[in-house]
Amino acid sequence: MSSLPISLIVLCSGLGLILIGLWGMLTQRNLIRMIIGFSLLDTGIHMVMVSIGYVTGGTAPIIDAAVPAAEAASRVVDPLPSALVLTAIVIGLGVTAVMLSFAVRIYQAKKTLNIDECTESKW
């Protein structure tokens, strides 16, 4: 085993992406940039989830000639986080599409994407 486990690299990149995405969502004033921040946050969370399911030396959880069913439990990575991430990606896509359509509507109504112009719903 090398000194730096691969899942730690994925975990750290995922956590970094979460921070970058959150920073983007909190500081950017342009709606599209905020949505990009959300996407980054989303991707970061997926990477963290996948890295947690990794098992040292494990391979993809698919039974075939390379991974016989009898040895599956000792040779594959955890299938559950992968399945959850699969769900999360699709939900993230749906949420992003709805956010983009909101952005389009706001642009049509105000001719700007700057969030500071949307003062009606500001508290």
Binding site: L8, P61, I63, D64, A69, A72, A73, A83, A97, F102
Partner: protein
């Protein structure tokens, strides 16, 4: 200014938390008990070579049904938000659309030819991906996304092409309904809702195996493909209107 300091404070605190998390992280050396159960009993019980598929479609099938529902609702939400407004009163919507679409610059020769050449292959690849979801990496959602990328191709190359709204809603409703019917058949013929053992499991690793999983994935693939195509089409039409 206060806001900035507050944001920086939140991020620094979160970063400290993450640092702690990453520092104490140890790679797993064996599967979790639940993962072990799926890996041990999954292949024999459900007959799917891809364990992720068996988790997504059968063990946690209800989650997937909820996921399909969320995707449907978000597609419906996009449709509602980007509903075309008839600004020029009295005019037929179709005529208006045609008048606006003529402003489009036609796609270049290269894009058009490439689309004609690649579109059937892209769609075929999408179908391949969702048909083999129980054997190889892939599945209904991935296959559906590939088919939707084919639609994207079509919209880029032939901006005036029209995707029938009626066809989309019929295909979407039919495949969603069939998905639920297959799930209910699981209650009647097998162990519970969305159980895939309503038919023989077949030979492990062949195309027609794993009971109802390929059928469910075909429905999911068709539904996701049409739904995402509808979303793309909505965004396209909206850019025409402005």
């Amino acid at each position: 200014m206060i806001k900035r300091i507050f944001i920086a404070l939140v991020l620094v605190m979160l970063a400290a938390m993450f640092l702690d998390l990453a520092a104490s992280y140890r790679e797993n050396t064996s599967l979790s008990p639940l993962g072990r159960y799926y890996a041990d009993t999954g292949p024999a019980e459900l007959g799917a070579a891809n364990l992720v598929t068996s988790v997504v479609v059968t063990y946690r099938g209800l989650d997937t049904l909820g996921e399909v529902t969320v995707l449907f609702i978000s597609a419906a939400g996009v449709g509602l938000m980007l509903r075309r407004e008839r600004k020029k009163g009295g005019g037929n919507g179709g005529e208006n659309g045609d008048a606006r679409m003529r402003i489009h610059r036609p796609a270049s020769e290269i894009v058009e030819t490439a689309t004609e050449l690649l579109l059937p292959m892209v769609i075929l690849f999408g179908i391949y991906v969702f048909l083999n979801g129980h054997l190889s990496p892939g599945g209904g959602f991935q296959g559906g996304a590939i088919i939707a990328s084919g639609t994207m191709f079509l919209l880029l190359a032939l901006p005036e092409s029209h995707i029938s709204r009626l066809l989309i809603s019929i295909m979407e409703s039919l495949s969603g309904f069939s998905y639920v019917v297959v799930g209910v058949l699981g209650v009647i013929l097998a162990g519970g809702f969305l159980d895939n053992r309503i038919m023989g499991l077949g030979t492990f690793g062949s195309l027609f195996s794993a009971g109802a999983i390929p059928i469910i994935y075909v429905f999911v693939g068709i539904k996701v493909g049409f739904e995402l195509s509808a979303v793309l089409d909505r965004f396209r039409e909206d850019s025409d209107a402005t």
